[in-house]
């Protein structure tokens, strides 16, 4: 059976662009980040590039870009899930009008495909420019031959974009399956009461988390054992970095569970904040699956940020590795590159936090209206949301911090012979402040804006 075609999809997007913004932004930025590394890879594989340069560039692009890819794909998938959830009621309505689940899924995927194609194409130019910037940083560091030219590598950049698109479509399909797998009227009612059912974490998700933790643990262990004895002084860095990322991903997969736990543990603290604290703690417990969309990028931001920054801090304090194998220029390049990667990924994660917060607030306008009709003042609604955001932020700080230890502790043991490195605490302060500011700040701004809409209008009683 055929579903609504491309024309239906484009008119759906044109008529209410707001609900597509989050998905668009995540696919666009994801393509830019991944595409920039793809262009680095293209330069490395270019016919004119010498074998030495080729090895440096390909290693860099695939190791660093590869991890960037994992993080980007994860964030995009989680945003796409939120954006489908936003439309539960609409999906129920169209189902009630007679669309079979397959037609509905088809419409959702067609919309994503149209939107994604535009986002990914628009990302090509910025991705190439960002790739060139990273390349010139690498070149300034002397890691590749000075004369080597950057290649835009259109096919590679496009492939990267296509990958982002494919993963987005897969995420939408999974979310759409969940949204259409029930009778139409239930879907519509779930939309009306905004899905209070807390979905159980799927077995696949738990399994994936266990795998991520296992991989993270083995990376941490490898850092301490095999890699320690390697001749290459940077060998242990190659496993220590990914260790923290894998730990972060494991936590990301379990984020709804972590949020429920945090709400329970911090319930006492929240209850000190009166009614807003009371509402925040119940919302976080009973609808952790929604707020978890914000927690995921916060964990990535904190875990990845702290891990990499302290990797460099430890490296700088360790006995010099300069010698036959490593020149001063190599060390400088490596440092620059690490900072560039931290900068790129944390910027991306920070934007994803804002993106998800904004999408979720749009999703919840009706519910804010309901709270106000029950007698909550706008200030009480805003306070509730700020507390929820703070709960998410604190959970992210703790969990991300723990994940980063998967990188920091083994590397510190290898390089400095101590469990806790005696290095500056400044990065902790910086990353934590940034994460809290982004999460709480964006939530505060978005909910305050939502309060401008009259409560009756927000619940759809008047149009």
């Amino acid at each position: 059976m055929r579903g609504p075609g491309i024309r239906a999809a484009t008119s759906s997007i044109r008529s209410r662009p707001a609900i597509f913004v989050a998905g668009f932004v995540s696919m666009f930025l994801g393509s830019v980040v991944v595409g920039s590394f793809a262009s680095l890879l293209a330069t490395g594989l270019d016919a004119g590039t010498s074998a030495v340069d080729q090895e440096s560039l390909v290693t860099m692009a695939s190791v660093v870009g590869g991890w960037g890819l994992v993080i980007v794909l994860f964030s995009v998938a989680s945003t796409m899930t939120v954006s489908v959830h936003q439309r539960t009621a609409e999906i129920g309505l169209i189902r009630a009008l007679g669309a079979v689940p397959r037609q509905m899924r088809r419409q959702l995927t067609t919309e994503t495909a149209v939107l994604g194609a535009v986002a990914c194409l628009l990302a090509v130019l910025p991705a190439t420019l960002l790739g060139r910037r990273v390349f010139s940083l690498v070149q300034e560091g002397g890691m590749v031959t000075p004369g080597l030219q950057h290649v835009a590598g259109l096919p590679y950049v496009l492939t990267a974009s296509a990958l982002v698109l494919v993963v987005s479509l897969a995420a939408v399909r999974v979310a759409a399956h969940r949204a259409t797998g029930q009778p139409a009227d239930i879907a519509m009612r779930a939309g009306a009461t905004q899905g209070t059912r807390v979905p159980r974490l799927s077995r696949w998700r738990v399994l994936a988390a266990v795998l991520a933790f296992a991989a993270g643990a083995s990376m941490s262990a490898l850092t301490l054992t095999v890699m320690r004895d390697q001749e290459d002084p940077y060998a242990s860095m190659q496993t220590a970095g990914p260790a923290g990322i894998l730990w972060s991903l494991g936590f990301v997969l379990l984020s709804p569970l972590l949020l429920r736990g945090a709400a329970r543990v911090l319930g006492g603290v929240l209850s000190r904040f009166g009614v807003p604290g009371y509402l925040a703690s119940y919302d976080a417990r009973r609808r952790s699956h929604l707020l978890a969309g914000i927690l995921a990028p916060v964990i990535v931001l904190v875990g990845m940020g702290l891990g990499t920054l302290y990797l460099m801090a430890i490296e700088n304090q360790a006995p010099s590795v300069l010698g036959e194998l490593v020149t001063e220029a190599d060390a400088a390049t490596l440092e620059t590159l690490n900072y560039v990667v931290v900068g790129m990924i944390s910027t991306f994660a920070a934007i994803m936090v804002v993106n998800t917060v904004a999408a979720l607030v749009v999703d919840r306008r009706r519910e804010f209206g309901q709270q106000r009709l029950a007698g909550a003042t706008p200030q009480q609604v805003v306070a509730t949301n700020v507390l929820e955001a703070a709960l998410v932020a604190v959970t992210g700080l703790v969990v991300g911090g723990i994940a980063s230890l998967g990188t920091i502790v083994p590397y510190s043991l290898v390089k400095l012979d101590r469990v806790v490195p005696d290095v500056t605490a400044l990065w902790w302060v910086l990353v934590w402040t940034l994460a809290v500011a982004v999460t709480v700040g964006s939530s505060w701004v978005a909910v305050r804006r939502a309060m401008r809409q009259p409560a009756l209008e927000a619940v759809g009683a008047v149009t």
Binding site: T193, G195, T196, E367, Q371, G375, V462
Partner: protein, 250 residues
């Protein structure tokens, strides 16, 4: 009985939009409800019934005129102050229930008290739920309740603060006949037993027959009143109202 009227609406006007496209939803409506009375507001679609109710409850601001609930003037208050007064003095039951989705029945009922900063006495909350026949369902979330049950939770929530005025906007509009009858019986009961003042908007002649008086609204103006309404009398009057509305348009 108290001296002050539960609701006093004076010369209420509400205009939506400006210029040529402006719509006058209410056009000089005045209404006084004595404490312990049950009034139904009826009229064709677009006659301004819901606007009247929303203005009376402090959910919407009138363009002109005054609204006083229990002797306290609502109009000319700021949003936060109006919310505070509203949650103390007005209970509201909506067609669409509007329960907070992540709170249980009991927590939903206690919410207005919590928001007001009052001490929550579990006994009172349970009693309110017991009164609407939901003593067994206190721990259910709204999504686990039927429409009729959700509406009864909403009624318990609206009445737990002992408001001066209980507003109901098509409270039976989304319910089956049996649930509708239960909800209407509960409204009537609150008037008879506790001296609650109720203002209800409805399309349904059967629902209106539960009230002490019916006020008929056409094009934002009160065009008729009926005391001790019966289903038949209300239905007949409604048919005439339609003609009146058409006559006005011509």
């Amino acid at each position: 009985m108290r001296e002050t009227a539960a609701l006093e609406v004076h010369d209420l006007t509400k205009t939506y939009g400006t210029g040529a496209g402006a719509v006058r939803a209410l056009d000089g409506v005045s209404l006084v409800l004595g404490t312990g009375s049950f009034t139904a507001v009826m009229g064709p679609s677009g006659s301004g019934k819901s606007t009247l109710l929303n203005c009376a409850a402090g959910l919407e601001r009138p363009t002109e005129g005054t609204v006083a609930v229990g002797g306290e003037t609502l109009t000319a208050m700021k949003e936060a102050a109006m919310t505070r007064l509203r949650r103390e003095r007005v209970g509201f039951v909506f067609q669409g229930f509007h329960l907070v989705p992540y709170l249980t029945a009991e927590q939903n009922v206690a919410l207005p008290l919590r928001l007001m900063g009052r001490k929550i006495r579990r006994r009172d909350v349970r009693a309110a739920l017991d009164l609407v026949g939901l003593a067994e369902q206190v721990d259910r979330l709204p999504s686990q309740l039927s429409g009729g049950q959700q509406q009864r939770v909403a009624m318990a929530r609206a009445m737990v603060t002992e408001p001066a005025l209980l507003c109901a906007d098509e409270p039976t509009g989304q319910l089956d006949t049996r649930s509708a009858r239960e909800v209407l019986g509960l409204l009537r009961g609150s008037v008879d037993r506790a001296g609650q003042t109720v203002l209800m908007v409805t399309h349904d002649a059967v629902a209106a027959s539960y009230a002490d008086q019916v006020v008929f609204l056409v094009d934002g103006q009160i065009v008729g009143r009926m005391s001790n309404p019966t289903v038949g009398a209300v239905a007949t009057q409604l048919a005439n109202l339609d003609e009146l509305a058409l006559g006005g348009a011509r």
